[in-house]
């Protein structure tokens, strides 16, 4: 059993609420825990926000492609753009004790997803692979 849902959406922040609604519904359909759904919704939103901010430098007219795959043992979300390729080393949240604006997105992603990985095979742009295993 493997279901997948793919969404292609403009890189405009107004569409982040569409992503959240989709993430929510998928979580509910697959009877995930409400707290987990909330954490995943935030994580996917943050990953897409990062694409808009960093990969597309605020250009709201590009495309973001999000692919959700649900298997019995894991939930995978792959987020693709064709913007500036990220330097893997830069992909780091700030020290949580150093209170200042920004630097929380990656923390929010990593706290719920077990895998956070940039696909090196992707030449132009980025393909971020997020996986959560069901224990």
């Amino acid at each position: 059993m493997k279901d997948s849902i793919t969404v292609s959406i403009p890189s405009h922040p107004k569409y982040l609420s569409v992503i959240r609604a989709i993430t929510d519904r998928i979580g509910q359909i697959h009877e995930m825990d409400e707290k987990v759904i909330g954490d995943i919704r935030l994580a996917v939103d943050e990953a897409c926000s990062n694409v808009i901010k960093h990969a597309y430098k605020g250009d709201v007219s590009r495309k973001i492609i999000i692919k959700y795959t649900i298997k019995p043992d894991k939930f995978q979300v792959v987020i693709e753009d064709n913007g500036l390729t990220a330097r893997r080393k830069a992909l780091k949240g700030r020290d949580l004790d150093d209170i200042r604006p920004g630097g929380l997105g990656i923390h929010f992603i990593k706290r719920v997803f077990d895998v956070f990985e940039l696909d090196e095979k992707k030449k132009k742009g980025n393909r971020l692979i997020l996986v959560k295993y069901f224990k």
């Binding site: 922040p13 982040l16 959240r20 707290k35 926000s49 949580l96 604006p101 920004g102 929380l104 997105g105």
Partner: protein, 109 residues
Amino acid sequence: MKIKSIDYKGKKIIAITGDIDMYSSPELRDEMMAHISKKATALYIDLESVTYIDSSGIATFVEGLKCMKLYGGKLQFCGIPNSILEIFRFSKLDRVFEIHSTVDDAINS
């Protein structure tokens, strides 16, 4: 997201409804900064009807806190739903934000 600035018992309250995200947080920032630029001594953020907050919303509040500290103003939070409180805790912001359960508690603190 919807924002309303309210005068309540002589205090400035910003009551927010709905989702605070990268799309809506600039409007929240404008509203908050309008009060801060007038050197509001205390500003109460009512989150009771907030259904979602992401890192851009949190960054907005951290910025407000830092700006108010510069002149000794106080940023206070009230009515925080549990799911949002949990995010504040994870981000270690429960230590720097003044959090109260109701607007009245915040005002009387």
